[in-house]
């Protein structure tokens, strides 16, 4: 669709004008860490950053949400309040691509109403990655620092304080004012150069061995999973992980994130657990991402953001583990 060239202040002014009608979520510092979180002004928003701790799935599929209230005499469903629309600012291509993966599941055979409603009422403004992190490996999974899949508007730098806006959807169109100039060839090539530089910076590649599927029963998994402490960091910070639990807190039924690494995930009420051992849990996570999701939905459920490696308490490296399998 449309492409625009905007100065930084023009872009800021444009976004500022949206605060009135939209809830703006953007990368912002809190206690020395960067999070996607609701911001009150553009001053809070960080422009140069690699992946924040959390990712944008939180705003569609939150860590915990009340589904409904169930009592003897009534059932009251809770739907998210989407009256005020939301804009997610400066999402990175890996996170937005992950949303497309989640869509296949949550807006599939059974439509998840709250996810769908949030999806429909959220506009995503993406920001290209100029300096990807050491642990990024998006390219090998079909993404890239300048990829735009899943965005409504993408922003790529041209040069200092000048940006190329790519308006990709109608939702994107709704929030970007007619302004600025059309990109010129030179500007496009400047962006292209930045893109190439960024892509070159990504050295890590995931390389699924051809006999990956056959490796399922290999003792390899027992070895590589030894260090795992079965916490939920990799799954909770992963933009593509989506397992959840449904529990009751008082009369409220709540859906909350769950992780396949936890001891309770597959344990039945009477105590049996078909995936009790650590290596089985770990193997499940890897195969679910790299094998089953692909078989069921045609795509690998990993976008190469590198969060799982960065935040892993024992620094297990998914790239190394998959590549060496």
């Amino acid at each position: 669709m449309d492409m625009l060239i905007l100065n930084k202040h023009e872009l800021i002014d444009n976004i500022k004008s949206l605060f009135k009608d939209y809830e703006i979520v953007g990368p912002s510092q809190l206690d020395g860490k960067l999070y996607f979180r609701p911001v009150k002004s553009m001053d809070e928003v960080v422009w140069d950053f690699v992946n924040p701790v959390n990712n944008i799935k939180d705003f569609f599929f939150p860590p915990s949400q009340v589904l409904y209230e169930l009592r003897q005499d009534r059932i009251k469903a809770f739907e998210p309040d989407t009256k005020k629309k939301r804009i997610i600012l400066f999402a990175k291509s890996c996170d937005t691509r992950a949303l497309n993966l989640l869509d296949k599941l949550f807006i599939g055979d059974y439509k998840d109403t709250s996810y769908t409603a949030r999806r429909e009422t959220t506009t995503i403004i993406g920001l290209s990655c100029l300096e990807p992190a050491d642990r990024c490996f998006c390219i090998s999974l079909g993404g890239g620092p300048f990829a735009t899949k899943g965005m409504d508007v993408s922003i790529s730098p041209v040069r200092k304080d000048k940006f190329l806006l790519h308006i990709l959807t109608d939702k994107g169109k709704d929030i970007i004012a007619e302004q600025g100039t059309r990109p010129e060839r030179e500007e496009l090539s400047l962006t292209e150069a930045l893109k190439q530089k960024a892509e070159e910076a990504i050295k890590r590649k995931i390389n699924i061995p051809s006999d990956f599927f056959e490796k399922f029963d290999s003792d390899y998994w027992k070895g590589v999973s030894q260090a795992c402490i079965k916490c939920g960091i990799c799954t909770y910070l992963c933009p593509a992980c989506h397992c959840f639990d449904i529990i009751d807190e008082g009369y409220f039924r709540i859906r909350c994130w769950d992780t396949c690494s936890s001891d309770t995930f597959t344990k039945m009420a009477a105590g049996e657990d078909h995936r009790k051992q650590k290596y089985k849990k770990y193997r499940q996570r890897i195969y679910h991402k790299f094998q089953y999701y692909k078989e069921n939905f045609g795509e690998i459920a990993c976008v190469g953001c590198g969060r799982c490696t960065t935040y892993c308490p024992v620094k297990m490296d998914i790239v190394e583990i998959v590549n060496n399998s």
Partner: protein, 148 residues
């Protein structure tokens, strides 16, 4: 149960619900004696009988607060009087830690109390209840105030 109950009620209720865990041998008997002596005290307390104050796991206190109790009181025999030799000595240590933790996380310490009431201290029991109710009420009011 309200999900925010642990953070105190939205408004201060006229009547509080304070759960008292009383050991069977001293405090429960002391509370009975307050009754036999017709000593009057506020009706905000609900007593749960336990064999020994040493039965009290801090988790029970926390669970109680989480579920919505405005305050919790644990009462046992005076040190040395424990029917089960030493249960109250252990619970004293456990509850000290709990009390410190609650306070450290910003929970008003007046919501949780512990007392020693013997079987002959009917009057003390009445006084303890009065104090606890007053404290819990103050704590509730203060929290509502600071919450805006």
């Amino acid at each position: 149960m309200s999900r925010s109950h642990f953070d105190s009620g939205e408004k201060v209720k006229k009547k509080l619900k304070i759960i008292g865990f009383l050991c069977n041998w001293c405090s429960y008997a002391g509370a009975d004696l307050a009754g036999t002596s017709r000593l009057q005290y506020p009706a905000d307390i609900r007593i749960i009988r336990v064999p020994c104050s040493g039965r009290m796991n801090p988790l029970l206190v926390l669970k109680c607060l989480q579920e919505g109790a405005d305050g919790v009181l644990v009462s046992g025999c005076h040190p040395g009087d424990c029917h089960y030799q030493e249960g109250n000595y252990y619970v004293r240590r456990r509850m000290l830690i709990l009390k410190n933790l609650l306070e450290y996380f910003g929970i008003d310490k007046r919501r949780f109390h512990m007392s020693w009431v013997s079987a002959s201290e009917g009057a003390k029991w009445a006084d303890v209840v009065k104090k606890v109710v007053e404290d819990v009420r103050d704590a509730c009011e203060e929290e509502v105030k600071t919450a805006g």
